[in-house]
């Protein structure tokens, strides 16, 4: 026999260890450095600028956290769906549905005091996001339609719906033809911390994370999700109604993204705008996977990605486009997926 090595796939391969995630992030920065070099800039300066812009100044840090709020909520939402192998990639649409519903409250129910308008907006955001999630769940459960396709398509419906309202019926008459609604009143605005842009949505997001963590780990419902995720057939043999779980989880998943949309219009933009989301719903998918669906991990990865977005804006002063941060996000996901596949490959010496 020849001596040498052969490559084997070990199907029972365990989940990849934690350092694979770190390696993916490092490799992503390395790969993007090549692109930065091509533009004639020094990657070290660019990365220093980015990190500084994202974490070093009080303004940068609050901006990072402001961006982390929708990522946390959307990421938590999709992570619940991924736990039971429902591939919801519609957080973007669910986010927009929530943002639109919350804005609708300001338009059709104006002049209410804060203690009425804010809870109503919050519920409207949750409900609209949940409804958007339900539109994905129902065809999946009853007609076995692939949820990837429906949830993606629903994103476009939500985006076009947003465009319609901001260019059409809800456009601010005093807005110089700018595609956006009239600004919210103080009673329709989430309170902020001091005079920063950081708003109460952070508390909402953190509460949601803690609740999800407890529910997933310690409740019967969480156990059922775990069982469905690990082996749906065994769950069926245990008398668990998987359809009902899919519907409820998508309601929750969409609801959390909808809540993020409400927090964004009410806490940051203070109005509904054309292009209100720079793709939070999509970035949230990466946030959830980096955290391996762990709720507390999602807090960390959401802050990291919030920093990437905030830092991306600060490199514009160096003459680089802010899409550097999109490039980084994409590369992280690429290496993460590659890592989890390569993690199953074993190099064995032939004897």
């Amino acid at each position: 026999m020849k001596l040498g090595y052969r490559v084997e796939i070990d199907p029972s391969g365990k989940d990849s260890p934690w350092w694979v995630t770190v390696m993916a992030v490092v490799l992503a920065f390395g790969l993007v450095a090549v692109f930065i070099l091509v533009t004639g800039k020094n990657p070290v300066t660019v990365y220093t600028k980015m990190l500084g812009g994202a974490f070093a100044t009080p303004f940068g840090l609050t901006e990072t956290l402001v961006k982390a709020i929708p990522l946390m909520l959307c990421g938590l939402g999709v992570s619940l769906a991924y736990r039971i192998q429902v591939w919801n990639i519609g957080a973007e649409g669910q986010f927009l549905a929530g943002a639109m519903a919350a804005t609708a409250v300001t338009i059709y129910l104006p002049g209410q005091p804060a203690w009425i308008s804010l809870p109503v907006m919050l519920l409207a955001g949750l409900a609209a996001g949940g409804l958007w999630g339900l539109f994905t769940a129902l065809p999946k459960v009853f007609f076995n339609v692939n949820e990837l396709i429906i949830s993606l398509m629903l994103n476009y419906i939500a985006i076009l719906g947003l465009n319609y309202v901001v260019f059409g019926p809800w456009k601010d008459p005093k807005g110089f033809n700018f595609p956006g609604t009239p600004p919210f009143t103080d009673a329709q605005t989430l309170p902020a911390f001091g005079d920063t842009r950081l708003h109460f949505g952070l508390i909402l997001a953190l509460v949601a994370v803690v609740l999800a963590a407890v529910a997933v780990k310690y409740t019967r419902w969480g156990y059922e999700l775990r069982l469905i995720g690990a082996n749906p057939e065994a769950a069926r043999h245990a008398g668990i109604n998987i359809r009902r779980h899919v519907i409820f989880v998508m309601l929750l998943s969409g609801g959390l993204a909808g809540l993020a949309g409400m927090a964004e219009v009410s806490g940051v933009a203070h109005r509904l705008l054309y292009g209100i989301s720079p793709g939070y719903g999509y970035t949230a998918i990466i946030v959830a996977w980096i955290a391996r669906l762990n709720p507390f991990g999602i807090v960390v990865s959401a802050v990291l990605f919030g920093g990437l977005i905030a830092g991306g804006y600060s490199v514009q002063t160096l003459g680089l486009p802010s899409s550097i941060s999109s490039l980084l996000q994409g590369s992280v996901l690429f290496f993460l997926i590659a890592g989890s596949i390569l993690g199953k490959v074993r190099l064995r010496r032939t004897v």
């Binding site: 775990r226 069982l227 082996n231 065994a234 069926r236 043999h237 008398g239």
Partner: protein
Amino acid sequence: MDDTLSVELRGLVKQFGTVLANDHVDFAVRQGEIHALLGENGAGKSTVMCMLSGVYRPTSGEIYLHGQLAKIHSPKDAMRLKVGMVFQNFRLVPTLTAAENIVLGESRPIWRTKGWMAKKTAEIEALATRFGLGFPAGRAIWQLSVGEQQRVEIVKTLYRGADLIILDEPTSVLTPGEADQLFETLRRLRDEGKTVILTTHKLKEVMAVADRISVMRKGKMLATLDKSATDEREVARLMVGQDRKEPRPRQNRPGGETLLWIKDLVVIGDHGRHALDQFSLKVKVGEIVGIAGVAGNGQKELAEVLAGLRSWKTGTITFRDHLWKGASVRHSIESGISHVPENRMKSGLAGSLGSVDNLLVKSYRSSERSKLGFLKTGKNRLWSQNLVEQFDVKTAHIDAPVHQMSGGNQQKLLFAREIHQRPHLMVAVHPTQGLDVGATDGVHNLLMALRDEGKSVLLISEDLDELLLLSDRTVVLFGGRAMGEVTHETADREQLGMMMAGVSASGESL
């Protein structure tokens, strides 16, 4: 070398890991005959056929075709040597037409114009008509009936020039009418000079169509008989063997009380036909009832109905004097039926979860294990630790994923969970499949202990030894009906074998 032999196998051995699937098989098929290879599931029939058709390579031994030593390393080699195989599960592309499926894999020409396809279709139709194998060549496969699909498979082998056609369990997917038509085709193939080998476990079919019969058991080739010189009884005896083990000693006789009463049950299987057909069964308290039969005769559906996973069309089920209204897994669990499913890793356990989560599967709803929707985490861990120790499950840690454990330990874990439910009836499907001798013995002890405690067991197994060892009574399922039953005092392997092959005790065939 005798060149009237189409195939000759000498000392063929095939080993999968530690399992010896074929043990020095000698086998000869004459040119132009229909040769049936008979045996129970797992006897090694399919393995022999797969080696002939190049799917597996023999561990050792030689294959001769027409007296020439043949090296068959791949299905392509087999095709070149004019050996064609029709698998039990068809190898057809559902969205392509029958003709397209048949020419699939042909290397030339690259450009397949309409004219070329029309020419090929005409060729295929001519070939099919010659052997009396009609099917609409221009229709997509998914639109064809199973019988038609099988004909497409046969024509595919003929089109590729096969002289020797191997059919693995060809009638298992067919209705009786389609089967008769298939036999007609096989005779026609033989009359045209082709050689046919078919594997089966149905005696009636063998007697109807075969010229010669070979019988395998437990990987060994036992005998080759001329059909004219044998009868069903002799073949059945060969198939199931003579060796008889003493049944396990039992402490008490089952009580008179009926626990489960199934009456005239009709169940539709996944294939859309009657999987159980007017099936009736009574299980008494403290009794192990064995269900014997070759796979696919309704055993799976029977287990699923009792586990609440499948609904039934007509008939009644009465369990502990309550009439069942419909299929519900929760109801089955709560009324005291535990279920050890056929494939423990597919439907019994969640491989990536630890022992604790796997033990909780059936009981997490109870007030012992959870309160107000919250699991009693600390208490459950202690409970799991105890169960794991009590049932002697060897695991690195109670949180270690169960797919890391050996099959025997997985099965122990499953039994720990199901027995802990304190069931009135345990439905155990192939509970010792894939286990070594020690683990098998352990499972048998657990089942006997349940019985001696006054619980009942419905033991569904293909292993006659196991059934005769444990069961108080053994009922044979064939075609969704009870062919008959034997008690452990009067158990007769030969009679069981006949019934499993579709011949009832009174000698009449179904």
